[in-house]
Amino acid sequence: MPTDLDTWLHIVYAYLHDIAIAVYIGGAVAMEFVLGPAQGSIPPAQAQVMGQKTADRFLWLVWGSLSLIIVSAFFRLQHMGYITSDWPFLESGLALSEDYGRTIWTMFALWCVLCVNGAIMTFYLRPRLAGRLKAGTTAAGVQASQQAKMEAAKWIERITRADLVIAVFIALLGASLKWGGLL
């Protein structure tokens, strides 16, 4: 077993980073290809309740893993000496002129895209899905609300699939760092 704190920190940062990535990618796959189809096996009213419960819980996992990914990435880079406490804070290895730097910055940009998509789902699409009808709503109002919910559900599905592709591409970029980066 390692005896020095330095090595332990190296392991802990890598572990947290790997677990967060696994939860993000594996969670998206399980939601899309396992829980989604399973939802179709029960009556629609119950499926809607199940959909809301699973999505609410999954969003916690998404935000938790996105936060953990960036925090652990920062500490890993700092631990490897790419980020310092002195101006300009970034070492030359992270410059855009280097393959390693370009790959890291592309990963960061894609992480930002995942966050934006997560925010759209959490603060715009999910409330639309969960919206309740008020007493006295007209038939046209009910239909419009159903239409809006179906649209929101479609967009959530599209964004989740796009996120999955982006996350796997980030994993590809991350894997390439061992060999100096891909871009």
């Binding site: 077993m1 990618i25 594996g26 796959v29 399973a38 096996s41 991350g174 891909l182």
Partner: protein, 175 residues
């Protein structure tokens, strides 16, 4: 080629470990709010899909892990943190062996779930059965459900430990 193998390896264990966390943290939570009859239907459908995804992910992880191991050379290892060696005298080698053992445990647990516990859970009593036979069948299904819960928790714990072992390879291994 090595980058592609490493990506497949990462995607494999991410789908496996992340899927296990999601099934435990998301599906179990949702189940608590559902009527028992529908819980059984959802479990049956989710379980039958999940086992194939998990098995495929585990096989991909194992195969790509082995191929990555075969492509390792001394020069590559020398450039890494703490300059590890692929030998049982070095923590790196021992950790790789432990990862192999963890993979075999996961394969055994998952195979038992896919080919034994899941079918046993899905068995239903038939109208021509006697009361004793129906009771015995229910007890068998009950035992299968309990074993499945144990298997799922074991799978989750071992997969999270395996990710820890894998992460420790960045720092030259753990044991």
């Amino acid at each position: 080629m090595e980058t592609l193998l490493a990506t497949l390896h990462v995607a494999g264990w991410a789908i496996y470990a992340g899927g296990a966390v999601t099934m435990e943290w998301v599906l179990r939570y949702a189940q608590r709010t559902m009527p028992p009859s529908q819980t059984a239907v959802v479990c049956k459908h989710a379980g039958s899909r999940y086992r194939w995804f998990a098995l495929a992910a585990l096989v991909v992880t194992g195969v790509t892990g082995l191929l990555l191991l075969l492509t390792l050379n001394d020069g590559d290892l020398a450039g890494r943190f703490s300059s590890p060696e692929l030998s049982l005298h070095d923590p790196y080698g021992r950790t790789v062996v432990l990862l192999g053992v963890a993979w075999l445990i996961l394969l055994a647990v998952l195979s038992s779930m896919a080919f034994w516990l899941h079918p046993a859970q899905a068995r239903r009593s038939k109208p021509e059965m006697s009361k004793e036979e129906i009771q015995a069948e229910r007890e068998r299904v009950g035992r299968a459900i309990k074993r499945m819960e144990w298997a799922l928790r074991t799978e989750l714990v071992v997969s999270l430990l395996a990710v820890g072992l894998g992460a420790s390879l960045h720092a030259g291994g753990l044991f």
